[in-house]
């Protein structure tokens, strides 16, 4: 898990991964996510892992139903990807990292 302290950089990506307990699926999702981020967003991303078993009240804010769910908080617009993130291609499309529009917006 890569953690950058303090303030968000202007082009920093903030990703939240919602999981429920320590399941194999959750672990796989986190592993897959870290690999994708390292490859495509190296140095400008932050991943927050939220365990809903410990913080059930947090599921409401981001309207979480499925687990695991990855929420791209920054940059906007908000994006959600559900599943274990095993298909890199669709994760990249889901995060808008696969062409179409380049994700280089100011916040």
């Amino acid at each position: 898990m890569s953690k950058k302290p303090a303030r968000a950089r202007r082009d920093e990506w903030i990703l939240r991964l919602y999981v429920a307990g320590r399941s194999a699926r959750s672990a796989a999702a986190l592993r897959n996510l870290e690999a994708i981020c390292e490859e495509h967003l190296a140095g400008r991303y932050r991943i927050e892992v939220i365990d809903l078993v410990k913080h059930p009240q947090l599921a409401r804010g981001d309207q979480i139903v499925a687990v695991p769910t990855l929420v791209r908080h920054l940059p906007p617009p908000m994006k959600k990807i559900i599943g274990d993130l095993s298909n890199e291609e669709s994760v990249l499309v889901g995060l808008d990292l696969r062409p179409r529009r380049k994700a280089a917006r100011t916040v």
Partner: protein, 495 residues
């Protein structure tokens, strides 16, 4: 807060059959529904409430929840479609204060939104997030009840139906394990009860709500498709939604358990009483005046009302052709002052356009008015205004109406307009069989100075005259003209 009554401490009208161990019931507070189910929904189990758009399923769920919340069974309303504000507004019009119940921790609203356009799916997932949210909401107020409205929305938001189905199955089992009384709503499918076949998962109790428009008049019906471990009626029960919410009309007609009294009740006209052995109708019976236009049906019925009020009894007149003011004025012209009975609260006149609402709506309204006012006599004038509905519908409505009155010992007088010449054959046979006393009115042929004829076609269980009586309408009311000796009673029975 009242302690929640349990099914055992709460004797209901319909006792469970001795062979089946009594099943706990959770009262819904919906008028009539608890009656036809012997106490409400199966306690601690899920119930599916399904029907087309606008059938009232959300309202059903809300009423069930609010009723519980007000009686010490907190509940969670999980909405997949409407926001909290929408819900609050919808029930505010029915006189419920949702925000207050929420503040008091008796009710919680969980709005769950799953928007497909925002979601990408990749790889395996489950709905543990949903379970965690429900669990959190249930725990936060120690809920005993839950409504999921409409969980099928998940199918629109997520594409993996295999996962969804497995998770729904798990969800219903999970609710059951927690002994939560649940209402799950579902949208009607093209040839299934619900689009996603939820009926396969919810096997304890299934209720179907129907909303039909016939001849531009809306009718609502409720059917209990299944209720495991409990006796229930299989009929379609008419119901309505009015300012007090849902009201279901139970049918008990077929039981024919009404008590029959031999007490008599005057008709309001001495010469008419004379045709029934001088005493009038049986109290609690149903009387029908049939006749063509202008044969004084309304007047004869009004005299009956007036007589009741004179004796100090309460009476209701359901008027479907005239406004109360017009009706009172017209009756003054034949010697009746109904206004004074209205003023001293012995008489209520309710007027409505018959076509404005469905039959069920009228019936339900009558039901409530009768229960509120507790009259001893009721006049419905005319019954034939409802002939716009199908014959079956009218028949069942009249049957229910008569049943309602009889079960309360109320004497009912109905008028019925026979179109055209006024022959008795034109009267619906089905209706007449429900009537104890049937009186036919005819206009005298031209040249007989505008008189009218009255004859008793039948009067069950009492001596009555079989003569034809002539009468004229005067400023002092209907007056008999021919020789009273013709009208001596004979011994007779209905059928």
């Amino acid at each position: 807060m009242l302690p929640m009554p349990t099914s055992t401490s709460r004797p209901r009208r319909a006792a469970p059959s001795p062979a089946v161990p009594p099943l706990g019931k959770a009262s819904t507070g919906i008028d009539g529904f608890d009656q036809i189910t012997g106490g409400g929904l199966p306690r601690g189990r899920p119930t599916l409430v399904c029907g087309g758009p606008g059938c009232g399923k959300t309202l059903f769920g809300l009423e069930f929840l609010i009723h519980g919340a007000e009686r010490g069974e907190p509940g969670v309303f999980v909405t997949f479609e409407e926001t909290e504000q929408d819900l609050t507004q919808n029930v505010a019009s029915l006189g419920h204060n949702l925000p207050q119940l929420v503040r008091q921790n008796r009710l919680a609203i969980e709005y769950i939104r799953v928007e497909r356009s925002e979601i990408e799916e990749t790889g395996e997932y489950d709905l543990e997030g949903l379970f965690i949210r429900l669990d959190h909401a249930l725990r936060s107020i120690k809920a005993k009840r839950i409504v999921l409205d409409t969980i099928e929305s998940l199918f629109a938001g997520l594409s993996n139906t295999g996962v969804l189905r497995a998770e729904l199955r798990r969800l219903f089992a999970w609710l059951k394990e927690r002994r939560i009384t649940a209402v799950i709503t579902g949208e009607r499918g093209s040839d299934t009860l619900t689009r996603q076949g939820l009926e396969e998962y919810v096997s304890d109790c299934v209720i179907f709500l129907d909303h039909r428009i016939n001849d531009e008049v809306s009718t609502r019906r409720l059917r209990i498709v299944k209720y495991r471990g409990s006796s229930h009626g299989t009929n379609e029960y008419p119901f309505m939604i009015d300012r007090r919410g849902i009201a279901v009309l139970p049918v008990t007609s077929l039981q024919l358990i009404h008590e029959a009294t031999s007490e008599r009740i005057p008709t309001g006209l001495r010469w008419l009483d004379a045709m029934f052995g001088g005493e009038g109708y049986f109290r609690g019976s149903s009387v029908l005046f049939s006749g063509a236009a202008g044969t004084a049906k309304t007047t004869l019925a009004a005299y009956f009302l007036d007589a009741a009020c004179r004796r100090g009894e309460r009476a209701i007149c359901f008027q479907f052709e005239e406004s109360p003011a017009q009706y009172s004025r017209n009756m003054r012209s034949v010697g009746l002052d109904l206004g004074r009975w209205v003023k001293n609260r012995r008489l209520q006149i309710h007027a409505a356009r018959p076509t404005l609402y469905g039959l069920e709506y009228h019936l339900a309204t009558m039901h409530r008015e009768v229960d509120d006012f507790q009259p001893s006599v009721v006049v419905v004038d005319p019954l034939s205004s409802f002939m716009g509905g199908s014959f079956q519908e009218i028949n069942s409505m009249v049957m229910r109406l008569i049943d309602l009155l009889k079960s309360r010992g109320i004497t009912g007088v109905f008028t019925h307009l026979i179109p055209g010449s006024g022959s008795a054959q034109e009267v619906e046979v089905g209706v007449s069989s429900l009537i104890d006393t049937w009186i036919l009115l005819r206009n005298a042929p031209p040249g007989e100075d505008g008189g009218r004829h009255l004859s008793i076609l039948k009067s069950r269980g009492m001596a009555h005259s079989d003569a034809r009586r002539s009468f004229v309408l005067t400023g002092d009311g209907p007056r008999a003209t021919n020789d009273p000796d013709d009208a001596r009673p004979r011994r007779g029975g209905g059928r």
